[in-house]
Amino acid sequence: MPRLDRLPEASRKAVLGLPVKVNDTAPFVRPARPLAACRVALVTTAGLHRRADRPFTPGEQGYRVIPSSTPAADIVQSHTSIGFDRTAILRDLNVTFPIERLRELAGDRVIGGLAPNHYSFMGALRDVATLEGESGPDVARRLRDDGAEVALLTPT
């Protein structure tokens, strides 16, 4: 799921009511190196950030930086919604932000390593113009400067 036919009616309507841009093609680049040599960054739209950071406000299109060295205990989520079950992330951060799983993959040399920083945006955005025109490109440039070769995007 949420296969939409398995969602409660109210949730299905809320999801289908979100504006979605229709694209015919996609930008596409092949990773320059084998995955086992690539540095991977996480980019999440789950409203996560360090506890010391200012929480996201609903609809905010900015981002927060989560350095790779951040302990899981310092990561919080300011996106709360009845649209998703919070008990999952309370029990295990990796269900949305798989930082420990990526560390394991780096240890097993499946990926080259973790990029120095990960990035987080707020979820459930209706207006994404600033994200598309400013904060998104800003994060893309930062990822490049960080030496990230692959970005894994996770929703909530």
Binding site: P2, T25, A73, R101, T154, T156
Partner: protein, 232 residues
């Protein structure tokens, strides 16, 4: 959309998708549709094997010669992985009224929460309001007074945070403390049952209902927005 922006800057992306219908339209460069509920992008909490299968399937898409690529995780959700109907305060009756002392109750919850921290390497979602956890009985007292017309001010509130945002984040923090203490006491409890317990049986839930009512009675859109957030 974000994946497309990042890819356009020369970084290969792979995305986990929870809504296939949206992903089909948006066409990110590479996406793995997973059959899990919202809040469960990697499958299930504390199931590293499943999380690794999801990760591997998402990373495997990087080998595709051309795109966009939309693949499906080659396994289905299990029964019990359904997204439950949303539960907010207004949907939960308070059987016979809840008359407990919210401040005393919060002190008990803090004792349980200390054990949650000890059992979880210090992991907690608490910490949006900037007020330390040991001051939350005082925060609850302030919220009670706010609901009855008080100013809602707590010493130590960050100077640049407006009152309605502060109240929203303090309410979120209070809910986090109760949610996590409930998970400690009932490890297999569902999110729906935690919400029903909080809004239906705890004194703190009743305080937040009254806080919501005061915020919602305001004409100020920022207060109304905070009311919406507090009561769910």
């Amino acid at each position: 959309m974000l994946a497309r922006v990042i890819e356009a800057h020369g970084i290969a992306t792979t995305s986990i998708s929870l809504v296939r219908e949206h992903t089909e339209k948006l066409r990110p460069p590479r996406a793995l549709f997973v059959p899990f509920p919202f809040g469960h992008a990697l499958g299930r909490p504390n199931d590293p094997e499943l999380q690794h299968r999801v990760l591997t399937a998402a990373l495997d898409l990087l080998a595709a010669p051309a795109g966009p690529v939309l693949a499906d995780l080659p396994e289905d959700a299990e029964p019990g992985d359904e997204t439950p109907a949303p539960v907010q305060a207004s949907a939960v009756p308070t059987a016979g009224g809840v008359t407990g002392d919210a401040v005393a109750e919060t002190k008990d919850v803090l004792r349980a929460h200390a054990r949650w921290l000890a059992d979880n390497d210090g992991r907690t979602i608490f910490g949006l309001s900037g007020i330390p956890v040991d001051r939350f009985p005082e925060v609850v007292d302030t919220l009670q007074r706010f609901a009855a017309g008080g100013d809602g001010n707590v010493s130590g509130r960050p100077a640049d945070v407006p009152l309605p945002a502060f109240i929203r984040w303090a309410a979120d923090d209070l809910k986090s403390l109760y949610w996590e203490s409930c998970l400690l006491a009932r490890p297999n409890v569902t999110g729906t049952d935690v919400a029903r317990w909080f809004w239906g049986e705890t004194a703190a839930g009743q305080v937040l209902r009254r806080v919501r009512d005061r915020l919602d009675a305001s004409d100020d859109p920022a207060w109304k927005a905070a009311a919406f957030g507090v009561a769910r």
